[in-house]
């Protein structure tokens, strides 16, 4: 095994595992749809990072946060719906990214380039993944209770605004990290597909979150391993593997 492959796999497994775990919350919260526009906010940041040669995840995180602040500000100003404003900001972001980026690098911004991962970024990804994992683990039950009934959560003294903020921040960081593996367009493959597959196959919450992590690790592992043998980017392969396994799980799902 080459060092590069080892680094790619390590990064993929850490980020993928946490993304899958976080995804189980997102799928329950019906927010996996929001991952998509949210993840597209990363595009201008990735473009800038490629242009000025700094870490894509850093650029991605920067532009997600900037995009979210912009959306929040416009929402206050215009009273338009969040969805509308996400659409506006996201489209502008894509146009801006395409404007500044040389054509040769366009594929990388959309589907990622795992071969660029180096030792330092692997270490940082692993550490951040562990931290985010621990944070999510801490808020997991409370988030589920909020989803079941905000009223019940409030009676429990749960501060849903604070938790939602922590949760969104975790999503932003994981999406930004995921960009390293699958680029700016395919982050849902790390977050939504593992969780959706897990949901098809689980009867209770512990199975569900365990399987979310399991598939979150499995998809990048397989995708990155195949990357050696196929002339496609790892991002594409991870997504296809995930999609295929998800389809199988849909057939296995027992009718109630």
């Amino acid at each position: 095994m080459t060092d590069q492959l080892l680094l790619s796999l390590t990064t993929g497994i850490f980020i993928g595992g946490v993304a899958g775990y976080l995804g189980t919350l997102m799928v329950i919260k019906r927010m996996s749809v929001a991952v998509d526009p949210l993840s597209h906010l990363v595009l201008p940041g990735i473009a800038l990072a490629l242009l000025f040669h700094f870490d894509v995840s850093l650029g991605a995180l920067f532009s997600i946060v900037l995009g979210m602040i912009l959306i929040w500000f416009l929402e206050l100003k215009t009273k338009l719906s969040t969805e509308t404003l996400i659409a506006v900001v996201f489209t502008l972001g894509v146009a801006f990214a395409l404007l500044i980026l040389p054509e040769a690098e366009i594929e990388e911004i959309f589907v990622g380039d795992i071969s660029k991962i180096n030792f330092l970024s692997t270490i940082i990804s692993a550490i951040l993944s562990i931290i985010i994992f621990l944070i999510i683990k801490r808020i997991y039950s409370k988030m589920i209770l909020i989803e079941i009934s905000e009223d019940l959560a409030k009676v429990e003294g749960i501060n849903s605004k604070k938790l939602l903020f922590i949760y969104l921040l975790s999503v932003a960081i994981i999406v930004a990290l995921g960009v390293k593996i699958v680029g700016g367009l395919l982050t849902a493959s790390l977050i939504a597909i593992p969780a959706a597959t897990a949901k098809n196959l689980s009867k209770n919450l512990s199975q569900y979150s365990f399987l979310g992590i399991f598939f979150g690790i499995l998809f990048p592992f397989l995708g990155i391993s195949f990357f050696k043998f196929f002339p496609f980017s790892a991002g594409i392969l991870i997504t296809l593997v995930g999609g295929f396994i998800f389809l199988i799980s849909s057939f296995l799902k027992k009718e109630k």
Binding site: I28, S141, K142, I144, L145, E147, I148, S149, E150, D151, L152, K154, V155, E156, K199, S202, K203, N204, L205, S206, Q207, Y208, K256
Partner: protein, 231 residues
Amino acid sequence: MENNFILRVKGLNVELNNEKIIEDLSFEVKEGEVLTILGPNGAGKTVLFRTLIGLLPFQGKIEWEKGIKIGYVPQRIPLIKDIPLSVKEFFGLKGISQQETENILNAVGMGEKEILGKRIGDLSSGQFQRTLVAFGLISDPQVLLFDEPMTGIDIGGEETIYSLLGKLKKERNLTILLITHDLNIVYKFATNVLCLNRKSLCYGLPRETLTTDNLEQLYGEKVKLYFHTHD
């Protein structure tokens, strides 16, 4: 609070999206009472409950006895059936042990072991209602706020949700605030009744308060026949 008052509400006003939902509402609840809240759809009953437990902004005064523990049983929890969640895990969300979960399920007549591993979405509606009551009873509240239990539902074991509530009230010395549509329940179960349709339309002992006039005012003409069958 003097005179064993557990809750005092004075001049309560609740406005949501510039619409007045509750206007100038005042009532009191003493320890051990059962206050039923009666009113048509959209009368602001659930809003009242949500305000009482601090979920909504309001004007006026809501005074709970200091340090009181409140249990809340919401009307509907539509999304829960979609979540892969076992009964045991549902109670685990409140951080209680399996032993406590078993005890509390026992108290609502669901002592069977196999219930614990069952998925919430697979429970019968009677079992689900019992589960929600049990969930509201975690950490031994002194007051239970119960939003419109499914009336007339057979929750199994020839028990209605009301006989269960009656039993729990005795066993746990509960004070109960209960939203309902069902006049029968008010007569059988309530110490006090509050008729609510944005404003308080009547308030007092059920036998004295629920006059034909008052009910007509609350529900309109139609309810008369329905009401007379219970009179």
